[in-house]
Amino acid sequence: MAYDKFNILTSTAVPLPIENVDTDQIIPARFLKATERKGFGDNLFRDWRYNQDGSPKEDFVLNNPIHGGKILVGGKNFGSGSSREHAAWAVYDYGFRCVISSFFADIFKNNCLNIGVLPVQISAAFLADIFAAIEADPKTELVVDLPQQTLTLSATGQSESFDINAYKKGNLSNGFDDIDYLLNIKQDIQHFGANTPL
């Protein structure tokens, strides 16, 4: 599915300094019943965000009006557990375009890359500094520069580079997806398929 091109994103960020945030927290299984990709943002972090009667939990960061922005900052091992792409859809649909952490679970990271959300992995030390900076001033802006592969805290200029493979970087920059690529080599695939042992 096509998505917006990603270039340079400057935004405030929402801090979630919890480790091992699993995809069941990002979106619980009971909200996976849609047959179309829409409305998942309403249930992002559903059980952390709302009480069972549907009223908002005041102490959860998404319900705190002083925090906002297009960047979500999470603790180590973000996105573990289920392969549900709905978790990445919920993050995107809510309005985030970038997730920052010191470590990501594999499938979640892949899913993000496939739908135009940029996962940015940085050092634990820089992550701690970012949490501290946002706590001190919720208006703190971060600059995610995909062409340069850098993440910068605007106020201090503190910066770190991040990894992304050249192919995926190209896709995100241009709004391409993998199927476009694969359909172009369909003949090679069919030739290969005709000769597999299984």
Binding site: R30, K33, Q52, F103, N165, D178, I179, K186
Partner: protein, 464 residues
């Protein structure tokens, strides 16, 4: 060059290597279920393209199906719509479909091996992280997201960088009441939930060689719970005997071709792994989890660790224990429980029901316990009946439900109520995983059975 088993299978499926990018990997078998596929089929429709290889694609309904009254229409309208969508998509694209009520219906990772869809050396994907189960046959099997489901439907390929390699060796003799589930929970407790992220794991050593195929499936199933893409075990005579004669196992000339390939499926002596671990079977006890991720597990006789003894941050650890209603330093033995769930793609096979029945035989279900016993498939259900286990279960006060994923992820009505404790043979103890506010203690079928008849966390070795 010396190669690992994983290298051999991966390399045999690379259609194209992209410089500074992923490999294009050909997928032999694609399993599809109702929850992660509808948006992928919608993508095909929007692009006006067909499924490239319907004969390599297999659909079954499992995640949100009810486990009682399956002969009646599904009550929940959203679940019914999703099931209908899968049926229609399968029909439109000529894909085999084992829907609700079909004699071959069951959990995708249970029916795949049962009907020989799972083969050694194959690449197998499904929009479900526990696809790693199929690694028990020496296959490269892993979970994918819905965008990738669309890729595989439309091109039979995915694009991923080759993961790093890890070997986990467990040697020695397992103790009494120590099952494959305990081996896996032990490894995860040692490595943590992210200890194998970025790796594909090969399990090696006596313990896995001695395991049954179903035991190997349980171990490989849980690979994702330490972050691994998947896990696999080299195929041996036990593997070949298991697949022999199953519906989708190759025959004739195709079988001869496959056999020549299968003969190569082992790690070469001296092949290098990026990381390697060695564990001693004698150190493994029956396990139980006390927290909100599968890495928070310990031997059932141990005490809940203090925050300063754990690897992660204290804040997250304390939040987790608070959710569970437990304190640092407490015993797990004797903790009261409310529910027992036997089932899931981890422990919903016939050997799991045999193990459970062996413990409860001649005893009675505890009055404070609600027990949900959910076979992984109709084939498992039939075997429970054929082997006479059903009578023993009934005599002890247990009922059997119909096959499906059930309370493992609680997408259907099988939800553990808020605040209640469930000893569960499934794979995840995340907050609310088994229902909003539910509290899960992951364990083997034997530990679950001991809890079911005593109403509390009990060392099964004291009952047998």
């Amino acid at each position: 060059m010396k190669k690992t088993l994983f290298d051999k299978v991966w390399d045999a499926h690379v259609v194209q290597k992209i410089e500074n990018g992923p490999d294009v990997l050909f997928i032999d078998r694609h399993m599809v279920h109702e929850v992660t596929s509808p948006v992928a089929f919608l993508g095909l429709k929007n692009r006006s393209i067909p499924v490239l290889y319907p004969e390599r694609t297999f659909a079954t309904a499992d995640h949100n199906t009810p486990t009682i009254n399956q002969h009646l229409p599904v009550e929940d309208p959203l679940s019914a719509k999703q099931l209908k969508a899968l049926e229609e998509n399968a029909k439109a694209h000529g894909i085999s479909y084992w829907g609700l009520g079909h004699e071959k219906n069951g959990i995708v990772h249970v029916v795949g091996p049962e009907y020989g869809i799972t083969q050694p050396g194959a690449t197998i994907v499904c929009g479900d992280s526990h696809t790693s189960t199929h690694g028990a046959f020496g296959a490269i099997a892993f979970g994918i997201g819905t965008s990738e489901v669309e890729m595989v439907l439309s091109t039979q390929c995915i694009m991923q960088p080759k993961p790093k390699s890890m070997r986990i060796n467990v040697n020695g003799q397992l103790g009494k009441s120590v099952t494959p589930k305990d081996v896996a929970l032990y490894i995860i407790s040692r490595l943590s939930t992210s200890g194998a992220t970025g790796y594909f794991v090969e399990y090696a050593g006596d313990v896995f060689q001695d395991m049954t195929m179903e035991g190997r499936m349980t171990v490989c199933n849980l690979s994702i719970e330490m972050g691994a893409r998947g896990g696999l075990i080299a195929p041996d005579q036990k593997t070949f005997d298991y697949i022999d004669g199953r519906e989708f196992t190759p025959t004739g000339e195709a079988l001869e071709k496959a056999k020549a390939y299968w003969d190569t499926l082992y790690t070469d002596e001296g092949a290098a792994f990026d990381k390697e671990y060695h564990f001693d079977a004698a150190d493994i006890e029956p396990m139980i989890t006390y927290g909100t991720n599968p890495g928070m597990g310990m031997g059932i006789t141990k005490n809940i660790p203090n925050a300063d003894q754990t690897q992660g941050g204290a804040t997250t650890y304390k939040k987790s224990l608070n959710y569970m209603g437990y304190n640092e330093g407490e015993d797990m033995l004797g903790k009261p429980i409310d529910f027992v769930f036997l089932g899931s793609c981890t422990n919903g096979r016939i050997e799991d029901f045999r193990a459970f029945t062996e413990v409860i035989k001649g005893k009675q279900k505890a009055e404070n316990v609600t027990a949900w016993l959910v076979p992984g498939s109709h084939k498992v259900l039939q075997a429970i009946k054929d082997e006479g286990l059903l009578g023993i279960l009934h005599d002890a006060g247990f009922e059997l439900r119909e096959p499906g994923c059930s309370a493992c992820l609680a997408m259907n009505d099988d939800k553990i109520p808020a605040g209640k404790y469930a000893v569960s043979t499934s794979n995840r103890n995340f907050e609310g995983r088994q229902g909003p506010g539910s509290r899960t203690l992951l364990a083997s079928p034997i530990v679950a059975a001991a809890a079911a008849v005593t109403g509390k966390v009990t060392d099964p070795r004291t009952l047998l």
